[in-house]
Subunit: 333 residues, 2 copies
Amino acid sequence: MINIVLDVMAGDEGVEANINGALASLDGTFTVFLVGDENVIQHQISQKKNKFPESIKIIHAESSISMDAKIAEFRSDRSSSIYHGLKQINEHKADAFISIGNSGAIFANALKVLGRMPGISRPGFAIPIPSINGTRILIDGGANADSKTENYLHFALLGAQYYQSVFKKINPKIGLLSIGSESTKGNQLTLEAYKLLEIHCPNFIGNVEGTDLTNALDVDVVVTDGFTGNIALKSIEGLAELIKANLLKESQSSLISKIGLLLLKPSIKKIYKRLDYRQYGAVPLLGVNGLVYVGHGRSDSSAVENAINAAVQSVRNDLFSSLEQSIVSTSNN
Amino acid sequence: MINIVLDVMAGDEGVEANINGALASLDGTFTVFLVGDENVIQHQISQKKNKFPESIKIIHAESSISMDAKIAEFRSDRSSSIYHGLKQINEHKADAFISIGNSGAIFANALKVLGRMPGISRPGFAIPIPSINGTRILIDGGANADSKTENYLHFALLGAQYYQSVFKKINPKIGLLSIGSESTKGNQLTLEAYKLLEIHCPNFIGNVEGTDLTNALDVDVVVTDGFTGNIALKSIEGLAELIKANLLKESQSSLISKIGLLLLKPSIKKIYKRLDYRQYGAVPLLGVNGLVYVGHGRSDSSAVENAINAAVQSVRNDLFSSLEQSIVSTSNN
């Protein structure tokens, strides 16, 4: 039986959105462990219909970590829902952990409770990005502020294995985010990383640029350090908001453009939905000793449901073993 | 008399677009030196009307550097239009240099011919970015692949002085591009840069994030290293293209949305024009010993005209002296 742990004490929409997402996901083939304040969860559950009462289990946690908590506040906290949830994975009672809470706290607790996969010094977030020809992933999306050369290789191996498993594409193409497509372009770190990727990744296509994150280039996994990755993702997010704000503003300039906006609204909504990574439910933290997914704090119940389904699918596909295998086989090269 | 040097041997639209831009800019109060193949320029000029024949001067250059030329190809080239053009500035025969050519070649030649401003180890590109509340600039937009802590301070001082001079805002607000707004967020380099900016820049507002490049935050000058700056800018450029492609594609799904797009087209065009930094004509390379502007290779004649007008304005405002002054006064602190 597959067991998924869900931290319900997180997210802007509160406990209820998490519980609704969990209940909606159930189909009787797996169990969801709801981790958090037992009384609150019991009370919520008692008010809702559940066709699969056997598929829900409650794990009590005394406290929760707020979205803006700093590392000093949770470093030694062993009472939080994140900590208790991750413990279930560490003790082999469950197969995957999901939280839409404080990503820094999830990262720190995952390192503490689960540790790193053998051979990996820095785990990274794999973030889906929509492009002109389908979804690609960027890794690291911001787990680490500083990276070393070897980290780029690990991000590439983990990212490719994850992409292969989730997007069902054999030998996905790997690109290194840089400031020019030539192998001589880049900063000191990426120039070194380039050489390492060239040796160890047969599907390495070379440097890719910022524009290539979303254009029609044939690349599946874009590797970068967490600092650059975070800034690229947030720059994209900001521009999407700017264009939306401008469309609203400009369309007010005439009746014709007002009508135009009205007629085009369904298309615009579809486009922005595709840009919104909530649709993906949650993103994996690759390189820790267990399957850990972090969702956006703004996730609603359907995003939580998607996250649970994605986690169940990954457990069924034995994602974690194949991630381990991808590192081991490269280390033996 | 103000003298502006224009490298005419550059850009996707060829010599003619440059010459048309130059002729259109003239008003009798300044001279434009056209640098390039004398015969080609003479031939072009002879076929066009020019109300201010006294305001055009031709400087012959035997060769030109192609857009995709590598540094090894132009390192020791002293015959190119870029080299000859920059020589005019170095010999105090002209006040500002403009080219829409190979930015790497302009950067390398500017360092060789003009050198750095005293106290500056790395010059940087100041790129205008549209945001929800007006234009801000990002520096360095990609002149340097690797930066040191002191470079961030120089980018801040030069960027702020440039912003003040061009956008007429006293004491513009300076932000440091990072991965969280708290002072403890960032990579090793930005954490050190933060401390330096805090000491030397009274208008430093702290860290800003990728989303803040284009949102409503009250910041004017965003400081970053050239690697991150290039990737942020190109990520933004890529997303703008993705949204445009998606709008075209989605609107084909129904007659209503087709009509919607048609009615909204003027608004969309306006928005994309604002995103296109060709409207600004050219961006300055700040920190070299002279006023140097680099335009986009796709620039048309009106972009060249804008670039010349901007350069003339900067000479009138004595931009270069104020840039020098901003560095000297901080060094003496």
